[in-house]
């Protein structure tokens, strides 16, 4: 136990716990996703390996490791092999500042975050997350395949666009809680109790954050980069065996990270009234946090089979015409509330008002409509 007081050793233990936890969680979340998809489609899902197919992830992992490692001809070998590693590294790195329990700074305590006390937690997540696009771009380009190249081109445009609303949606929270550190934001909410959860003050920001994060992680309905119907497999068309698995793990780790961030930033982290208050034992807090994260992941998995995929112009339109102006106005609202020292509960009606305004603009907007009556007479005026 004396050994654990060494910060380096403690960090190593935490990293080992997180790494093992995430990899195990990934494989079983994939099992859960397959089961959920099956149930939603009135199927049974994996049920051959073990009871309820519970050993399926292990069988899949073994298969990934033992499969032939195909490197196609005419690929740029170095970049081709580097891309999946980058994918996994960047997404894992982003988890370094995400607290997964009651954060403790005392030496010898399990810190429940890999890098405690990082002052600019959210900015770090975004910085590392913005590097994740390299994996997709390089993988797609190095594969020497037009589907891969198209997928990676889409990915770069999508990820660069959605970084902006993602970053702007948390500015309001940083202003309200006077910090960018994820663990301090969590503590701030927990000390205020149930009414202190950021989602009550920033519901629109929560919506924007969730949408943009979903788009960043290339999940349906935003999986334009790998949509099977158009691009075969998108950027990972040419990848097989463990290299494909690394891309997949990277994507799933990203999903886990954004679920943790959503629950920590907006839904009070480990706090839940009565069950897990500030003075509760650590296992209750961890349990509550993991339950919240699981709920968000299940929501993401259900959205996958609920909302059809966006068209690419709709995707870009959503980011640039809806989410970014909304996020900007949201920041302005928070600034006004803080500057004129209005009570914080004013943010809820103001956010609702913002949402209603955006909805009204999109229905009542007087944008120049395509005139359909004129179109038939023009020789080339048939629209799309």
């Amino acid at each position: 136990m004396e050994l654990l007081k060494n910060p380096l050793i403690m960090a190593g233990v935490t990293i080992a716990v997180v790494l093992g936890g995430i990899l195990g969680a990934c494989s079983y979340l994939i099992w859960l996703e397959r089961k959920l998809s099956a149930w939603m489609q009135d199927r049974l899902g994996p049920n051959r390996v073990g009871p309820m197919g519970l050993l399926q992830p292990i069988a899949d992992g073994g298969k990934f490791l033992l499969k032939e490692d195909v490197i196609p001809d005419h690929v740029n070998k170095f970049l081709y092999l580097m891309a999946p590693c980058l994918s996994l590294i960047t997404t894992m790195l982003a988890f370094a500042v995400v607290p997964f329990g009651p954060v403790s700074h005392a030496p010898g305590d399990f810190p429940f975050v890999i890098a405690p006390g990082i002052d600019l937690g959210i900015v770090f997540v975004f910085a590392v997350g913005s590097l994740a696009v390299y994996a997709i771009i390089l993988g797609g380009w190095a594969s020497n395949n037009k589907y891969s190249a198209l997928g990676s081109l889409r990915a770069s445009a999508q990820v660069v666009s959605y970084e902006i609303p993602l970053g702007m949606s948390v500015v309001g929270i940083a202003l309200l809680n006077h910090t960018m550190s994820v663990e301090k934001i969590l503590m701030y909410q927990a000390e205020q109790g149930f009414a202190g959860w950021n989602v009550w003050y920033q519901p629109v920001a929560a919506l924007i954050f969730f949408t943009a994060a979903l788009a960043e992680s290339n999940r349906l309905p935003f999986d334009l980069t790998e949509c099977e119907q158009e691009l075969v497999g998108g950027f990972h068309t040419e990848y097989s065996a463990m290299k494909f698995a690394m891309f997949f793990l990277g994507e799933y780790t990203h999903v886990i990270t954004i679920s943790f961030l959503t629950s920590v930033l907006f839904f009070g982290g480990w706090h839940f009234p009565v069950i897990a208050e500030v003075g509760s034992p650590w296992f209750l807090k961890v349990g509550v946090l993991l339950l919240k994260v699981l709920l968000i992941i299940v929501l993401i998995q259900m959205l996958r089979w609920t909302i059809p995929r966006f068209r690419f112009d709709q995707l870009m339109g959503l980011a640039w015409k809806v989410l970014i102006p909304m996020a900007t106005l949201n920041v302005v609202i928070v600034m006004c509330v803080l500057e004129f020292e209005l009570p914080r509960f004013w943010l809820l009606p103001l956010s609702a008002g913002l949402f209603a305004t955006v909805g009204l603009i999109s229905t009542q907007g007087s944008l120049p409509q395509r005139s359909l009556t004129a179109a038939p007479t023009a020789a080339h005026g048939h629209g799309h």
Partner: protein, 253 residues
């Protein structure tokens, strides 16, 4: 002032570096890359032995050498690589190494912002454009340097001047700084209390210098005018880009 030959510790590595870059720049025919890389390595070691970090922590020293050397090496690789995609990736590495140096100097926000803006957006856009533009492979005029001699000389003269100035200013106190203009009397200004670092811990003298809030106070206190000006310029650039972008008739793709 020191005469020029006394500055050999700076001049020799700079000249060697210039020679290395000149030899390594892509051109028609073969490059003498063995000789060039040797020259470059000698120059790098020479510079590193002169401009040592002052702290005596082996971890910090190692990281400094890693990031500093990495930045210089990646920079050289960026301008000498024939493949534009690799050049863009080397540029990303330059940015990341520079961010590492920022982190070493206790500027985490600057480092994260640089990663987001440069490595995450600008270089990605470069790669994007290169992929779209060069689908048939690099053109011949892209595979050799344009004016290698002139570019190398100009670049290293600039670098030498900067190194000389840093060296001269680091050697002595206020008076040892090189004087290019006659010293004028500046009015005494009371320092802005907003921009002064706040003391967090009285006993250890720890301040919040370099933290997010102090950067915010500095940007929106001392440099408010510059920040607003830069923002306005960017806004004008955006509007200009939208105005310049070709318009399609409504309903046509």
């Amino acid at each position: 002032m020191n005469p020029l030959p006394e500055q050999w510790r700076m001049i020799v590595p700079a000249a060697l570096g210039a020679l290395a870059v000149w030899m390594l720049l892509p051109r028609d025919g073969k490059r003498r890359w063995v000789l060039g890389s040797l020259c470059g390595l000698v120059a790098l070691v020479g510079v590193l032995s002169t401009v040592r970090p002052v702290i005596d922590d082996w971890a910090m020293d190692g990281l400094f050498y890693l990031f500093g050397g990495g930045a210089v090496l990646s920079g050289v690789m960026m301008i000498t690589d024939r493949n534009p995609i690799y050049a863009a990736l080397w540029f990303a590495l330059v940015t990341l190494s520079t961010c590492g140096l920022f982190l070493l100097n206790a500027a985490p926000f600057l480092s994260a912002a640089t990663i987001v803006v440069y490595a995450g957006a600008i270089v990605v856009t470069f790669v994007f454009v290169i992929m779209l533009a060069q689908q048939a492979g690099a053109a011949t005029y892209d595979r050799r340097a344009f004016q290698p001699m002139l570019a190398t000389c100009a670049g290293f003269l600039l670098l030498g001047a900067i190194l000389y100035t840093i060296d001269a200013s680091g050697r002595g106190g206020e008076d040892a700084r090189p004087q290019f203009l006659p010293r004028v009397q500046i009015a005494e200004v009371t320092p802005n209390p907003l921009s002064q670092p706040r003391i967090l811990n009285e006993e250890t003298g720890e301040t919040d210098l370099g933290s997010l809030s102090s950067i915010g106070r500095s940007l929106f206190g001392d440099y408010l005018f510059a920040v607003e000006l830069a923002g306005t310029v960017l806004l004008i650039a955006t509007i200009g880009a939208i105005a310049l972008a070709p318009r399609r008739a409504q309903g046509h793709l």
